[in-house]
Symmetry: C2
Subunit: 235 residues, 2 copies
């Protein structure tokens, strides 16, 4: 059995973060989910804040550890603080499955936590998800086919999607889920996956062009038998 090793760094007690990491592939909006050793428990990637660390930096650090990425579109969206999310059995199961006994100095992890939730938008292609010390996998799941998640993590995901939808037009963030250059159709597919609805091609194109946030590049020849679309990038 793999032995759990946490860096000796000290963390702020009672405070955690969870991150909903969105990616886009095969027409689906997906998020990264961790599965823990020998437990069948699934959870959002999360972590703790070092004693002298900015909260935002802690999240970026965790994101970098899971994805290898450094420049990440990241947004804080809600802090979950209900007492009902306190369920020490879940964490105990998780620690014990990793060979950690009570009294190993991880007692603090069994306390009540308030969790600050963030969502990140990343380019699926640039990432090879990496599990952490406690988990044996970190994998993409389509948002419509999530496994059962621990605690209130399902709630967190739903609020993340809702916030993302609300921000989509206001902040024009959809492009963060794509490679630097993309076709208008790919961008539309991202929007449709996030909103869960079909959009009109011509209206969508007109709106995006009118927003003046895109730069048009060379055409992209896919080998298909039809007119080649332009490639775009965000300004």
């Amino acid at each position: 059995m793999k032995i759990f090793r946490m860096p000796k760094t000290a963390y702020l007690p009672h405070i955690a973060y969870d991150s909903v990491i969105f990616g886009f592939s095969e027409g689906d909006l997906k998020i990264l989910i961790m599965e823990y050793h020998n437990t069948g428990l699934f959870a959002l990637p999360g972590g703790f804040v070092q004693l002298q660390e900015n909260l935002n930096d802690a999240v970026l650090r965790g994101l970098n550890e899971r994805t290898g990425l450094t420049d990440i579109y990241l947004e804080q969206f809600y802090t979950f603080g209900d007492f009902s999310r306190f369920d020490p059995e879940v964490m105990r199961t998780l620690l014990e499955a990793n060979g950690i006994l009570p009294g190993d100095g991880y007692q603090w992890m069994l306390d009540r936590f308030i969790s600050v939730a963030y969502y990140a938008l990343i380019n699926y292609e640039e990432v090879t998800p990496r599990p952490d010390a406690l988990s044996d996998s970190c994998e993409w799941y389509p948002v419509n086919e999530l496994p059962e998640l621990i605690l209130d993590h399902r709630n967190i995901v739903e609020k993340a999607i809702q916030t993302l939808r609300d921000n989509l037009d206001r902040k024009l963030v959809g492009g963060n889920l794509l490679p630097k250059k993309f076709t208008m159709n790919e961008l539309q597919n991202v929007y449709e996956a996030i909103l869960g609805t079909k959009l009109r091609r011509t209206t969508f194109q007109r709106k995006m062009l009118a927003a003046e946030v895109l730069t048009r590049h060379e055409k992209h020849f896919s080998g298909k038998a039809h007119m080649a679309p332009y490639l775009y990038s965000f300004k």
Copy 2:
């Protein structure tokens, strides 16, 4: 000197909340600011979370103590977690001005805190602000004439206003700053105070009526020499 007495209840360490309590009077958007005994320090009303209390309930409890209100429109908008907001001197000044010495068991209040920020919209007329044990006043200040605030509280206020503006049309929350029944003109004044811009009377009226969120009641006779406006309430 008034001696500081905090209920013996235990609180979660490192976690606080701050609330930006909005009211509307005399054409101005105002917020409640506390002034602390003998220090000249001004701050947002805030507090701590009891060990078994929901975060949201803690904020409602604090709001009730400051305003006497129970049904309050409340929205969480951001959690401030930079290490730079750790400044024990401010809290030490504040405790000492209240006759509290080091070793009185309030050491935990000098630690680093992460603060979850909320904004509330209340009906100015229903409220008589009440100071807490540490403060000698709790008063309304127009958002454009705030005193200098401790720590990052000025930041918190600005983010609150920004969020309120963004949510104004989407959530139609402006009515929470008014009595149950109000005229269209009063509602427009609230919108103008929040947005900081003048709006067109006819366009505003048409938009609000088209939204189908208002119920029209009897006319309101103000005694002025002109056509009496209808009163409205939110559905």
